[in-house]
Amino acid sequence: MNNSTENLIAALSQDLPPVKRLASPGRRLVGWMAVALPVSLVMGALVERQSMALAFERLSDARSVLELAAILLTALTAGYAALCGAQPGRAKHVWMLPILPFGAWLALIGESCFRLFEQIGPEQFSFAPHWTCYPSVVATGAAPALVMVILIRRGMLTSPTETVALSVLAASALGAVGLRLFHAPDATALVLLWQLLATVTFLALSSLISVYLNNRSATA
């Protein structure tokens, strides 16, 4: 055995302190939802200055409930996949889990946009960003993103690009739950379309940043 490797092993093994094991991705996911979802909902209600009445009204609409289910499932599956990605040795096929709910969410938004387009016509239909909605997007998305970052940092990034992308998707989706319940204008179409575009932009940016950080850490 190489002398310096032997010395290193001896140094690492000497006075070895016990460590607290990382909880399973499922348990961390429950923790993420338990902390981030209530905070996101409260922040959404505060920023939008809404009572629970609007949320209950939305929850009584079957279409809204279907959308919420797709969004929540996207958040859960992407969150679980991201947390698996932060633990070496976990199977990588879990990365595919969010595809179906994310696709359903995307399809529902697309269908809503199409209906709105038919209803108001091309003159009124606009893809311009609704800047007044951005405080709500930030307020509802901050807690899910922050808690996810803390959970990811506790693990180890062996596939940073995929893990960061899945984390952003999960955080955006969980934030969208609050937006869907408390944003006063019916957020079915344009607001959620912009949230989606923001999510995709975040995904691309985070992937690029992660590749950059990854390259930097390799040279450090």
């Binding site: 055995m1 190489n2 310096s4 490797t5 010395n7 290193l8 092993i9 001896a10 140094a11 690492l12 093994s13 000497q14 006075d15 070895l16 302190p17 016990p18 460590v19 607290k20 094991r21 990382l22 399973s24 932060a86 633990q87 070496p88 040795g89 976990r90 693990g155 180890m156 062996t158 990854n214 390259n215 850490s217 390799a218 040279t219 450090a220």
Partner: protein, 191 residues
């Protein structure tokens, strides 16, 4: 020993190591070395660079030992870390290769003959052996500080976690080690 029984043994050692069993940890690290060298050797042919990467993997494994779940097989966990660190090292090697030029002779720096004469006893870094010999004369704590902070390029915080020494103790050990090395490696005329 079959792969399954070996994996079960490694998993057991790792679980014990997570609880603070240094002897089990030492056995585990020694046992996984051939696997790590095989993973690194598939991509890095230079044995010296390869051994550096193996040591990086050992440090990475140490820092992230809390991420192992004893209910899962051990080999995929360690292989993922090893593959990842090997790819990081390859990127570093390629990047350095793009900016460095190997030369047979050092370019002249000053006109006087003394500055352009490579004599092992006169030039501090003319030979890696001189540094290695000087390192061997260091007390254990100081040698650990030099290995972790300078050779492995770890931060004080990381080195503190790995060695169990406090940041202050590492700084003192490093300072004393450099002073000692300077004395050991100074040209004979200055001693």
């Amino acid at each position: 020993m079959t792969d399954e029984t070996r994996d079960a043994q490694w998993s057991k050692w790792m679980a014990l190591a997570q609880d603070g069993d240094g002897a089990a940890y030492q056995s585990l690290l020694a046992a996984v070395l051939p696997l790590l060298r095989a993973i690194v050797g598939k991509r890095i042919n230079d044995p010296d660079k390869g051994e550096d990467v193996v040591q990086d993997i050992l440090l990475s494994l140490h820092r992230n030992r809390h991420t192992y779940d004893p209910k899962l097989p051990f080999r995929p966990w360690i292989s993922t870390i090893a593959e990842r660190r090997t790819m990081d090292a390859l990127r570093k090697i390629y990047r350095q290769g793009a900016h460095e030029v190997l030369v047979d002779e050092y370019p002249e720096t000053f006109l006087s003959d003394e500055t352009n004469t490579l004599l092992e006893d006169d030039l501090v870094f003319a030979s890696g052996d001189a540094l290695r010999r000087a390192m061997e004369t260091l007390p254990a704590g100081q040698r650990t500080a030099v290995e972790l902070l300078k050779l492995r390029e770890m931060s004080l915080k990381q080195a503190s976690e790995v060695s169990g020494m406090s940041v202050a103790a590492l700084k003192v050990a490093m300072h004393r080690a450099l002073k000692h090395l300077r004395g050991e490696m100074a040209p004979k005329a200055e001693r």
